[in-house]
């Protein structure tokens, strides 16, 4: 290991950190006396430039500079740069760029540069989680994400409930981190290794004590189940999504989920494949998945606040995605990653539009507030329709193909079916029924947007050009991945 190698491997992150300090420094010196809007614009611009340069660094790494496809040997797997990890890191950076653009017009309080700084720090954490192949690096990076997000959730500290939601998120998150660490300590105890490759090898040799692995798997499921908001660990989600600033809620729902699922398949997959308690683990996961789908979809039905509804819907989506993990083969993992990508694009877009509307209303939007939005803001409504229909899984859009791949992988994982409860047919039946339930509340929002036109509350909204660009890119991704899903699926499958 040489320092220049390390320097080039972490170049994008270094650039982003530098940009963050520049934004902080300028905000506290040169722009100190300017008004809030100017400071927010300057800080957001600096952060965006840093992220763009970081993205350029990732692309430069991708083009052969540091990228390897063979198994990691350097640095004990602390930073592993394969085309897949670099691709996902680039995706996280792009999404963070959009989040910053959406956050720019609605800074919650006067600490603007800290706000963007924390968003950048959580982005770095996500990038490191994705590239980490080592328990230490993975845990540190995951905590970097969590701690930044706790702070961001409580950022509207002048408003009621915001700090309370932050404390709730922090308390439940702290307990789940402790569970995760406890599970990781048992994983280390069972395999005597920290590197994911060595862990997988030790698991494959079958010498790891099965009881340790059971505790390890439980800890990992509880810890990461919290991060992906799977029921019964989802209690923080509705309050946090409702009370956090909208871009932060969007970021919790997208970026941290991408990172968590990425590491979940790498950590939990090998344990599931080689454990002698496989049936117990599968039963546990099935329970988590079914409970998530049912509680998420039923809970979303009776919400009037749109952000709470999206929170419950994200619980339901975590349930769908776990079906891919149950198949415990490569197809399932590919479908999980594919689904997280399209889910993130659609969710970020939907949250961004809700944020724009909240900003205009000056309060949290209820579903009724969207009445007649179509007449006043046709383009915004069209984009919102694309995102919501993709979340609902309507065929030409990518959400449908995401679910299709997940369910096909689960069915294909067991070729011989003897009894009705073997294979995952009944689980997929539940998932399909719950998708039908989910249509109800998604369409309810769309109905408010498109059909109801009695006394529209919203006048036409001017969307900033970068925000608009971000929304259009997300919509193009959602539609494009629906029309041509094989490109991304092949890419993930080739390098996983």
């Amino acid at each position: 290991m040489s320092y220049s190698e390390l320097f080039f491997a972490t170049l994008p992150e270094l650039i982003v950190v530098l940009g963050m300090f520049l934004a902080l420094g300028y905000d506290y010196t040169k722009f100190k006396d300017k008004d809030l809007t100017t400071r927010a614009n300057k800080a957001a611009t600096l952060s965006s430039i840093a992220l763009l340069l970081g993205l350029a660094g990732v692309i430069w790494q991708y083009c052969g500079a540091c990228c390897t496809t063979e198994a990691p040997s350097t640095w004990d797997g602390q930073i592993v740069l394969t085309p897949l990890t670099l691709g996902f890191k680039a995706l996280v950076f792009v999404l963070a760029l959009f989040v910053i653009q959406f956050a720019k017009p609605q800074v919650p309080n006067k600490h603007v540069s800290e706000y963007f700084g924390l968003i950048l720090l959580s982005t770095l954490g996500m990038g490191f989680v994705i590239t980490a192949q080592n328990l230490i690096m993975f845990f540190v990076a995951l905590e970097l994400i969590s701690l930044s997000l706790y702070g961001l959730t409580a950022f509207q500290n002048r408003k009621d409930f915001s700090v309370e939601a932050g404390v709730k998120y922090f308390a439940i998150g702290g307990v789940s981190s402790a569970f995760l660490l406890y599970g990781l300590s048992y994983l280390y105890g069972a395999t005597h290794a920290l590197n994911f490759a060595d862990i997988a090898a030790a698991l494959q040799s079958g010498q790891a004590p099965a009881s340790y692995l059971l505790i390890a798997a439980t800890g990992i499921v509880v810890g990461l189940g919290f991060k992906i908001a799977a029921a019964p660990f989802h209690l923080w989600a509705p309050d946090t999504y409702q009370c956090a600033p909208v871009p932060v809620a969007a970021w919790i729902a997208t970026g941290s989920k991408i990172a968590s699922f990425f590491v979940l398949i790498q950590l939990f997959g090998p344990v599931l494949e080689h454990s002698s308690h496989r049936d117990t683990l599968i039963t546990g996961l099935v329970v988590v998945s079914v409970v998530s789908m049912v509680l998420g979809n039923i809970g979303a039905l009776r919400q009037t606040c749109v952000k709470r509804m999206l929170a419950y819907s994200s619980v339901a989506h975590a349930g769908y995605i776990l079906i891919g993990l149950l198949s415990a083969n490569k197809e399932g993992y590919v479908s999980i990653l594919f689904y997280t990508v399209i889910y993130s694009c659609a969710t970020l877009g939907a949250f961004a539009i809700i944020g724009i509307i909240n900003d205009r209303l000056g309060r949290e939007a209820n579903i009724d507030d969207f009445n007649g939005c179509w007449k006043q803001n046709p383009r915004l409504s069209l984009l919102f329709m694309i995102f919501i229909l993709s979340l609902a899984g309507i065929p030409p859009l990518s959400g449908f193909f995401g679910k299709l791949y997940l369910f096909m992988a689960a069915i294909g994982s067991q070729s011989e079916i003897a009894a009705w409860n073997e294979g995952f047919y009944w689980l997929i039946a539940v998932a399909l029924m719950m998708s039908a339930v989910s249509l109800f509340y998604y369409v309810k929002v769309l109905k408010a947007f498109l059909v109801s036109d009695d006394n529209p509350t919203l006048s036409p909204i001017q969307v900033g050009k970068f925000e608009g660009l971000g929304l259009i890119v997300l919509a193009v991704l959602v539609v494009g991945l629906g029309l041509y899903p094989t490109g991304l699926v092949d890419f993930i499958a080739a390098y996983l």
């Binding site: 500290n157 702290g174 307990v175 660490l181 309050d239």
Partner: protein
């Protein structure tokens, strides 16, 4: 009596349970923070014990991991205390019973 790995594992399991019960039942944020620390330290104890009884203790994996988690526990406590301050400024109390404003 000789100390074996299981003794340490049982001790850490007891510590973890104490922390978990405390974190879930206590309504005082500071006590909750202390309980979180106990849970993290139970995991640290595990790591050190597994390392001590592992076939390859010369790799120093356990102590390394523990050092990092101690640092993380400290940052978590710092952030928790910052939230306590914010809560106190807003509600003039840090008793969670009295500030339950969110439904469900």
């Amino acid at each position: 009596m000789e100390l074996t790995l299981n003794h340490f594992l049982i001790l850490s399991a007891i510590l973890f349970s104490i922390g978990l019960v405390g974190a879930l039942t206590r309504r005082h944020i500071i006590i909750m923070l202390i309980c979180l620390e106990i849970m993290l330290n139970a995991a640290n104890l595990n790591l050190i014990a597994f390392w001590h009884f592992s076939p390859n203790p010369e790799l120093m994996h356990g102590p390394l991991f523990t050092l990092f988690t101690i640092a993380i526990a400290a940052t978590e406590a710092a952030l928790g205390l910052a939230l306590v301050l914010a809560i106190f400024r807003h509600y003039q109390t840090i008793d969670l019973e009295q500030i339950q404003g969110l439904k469900e």
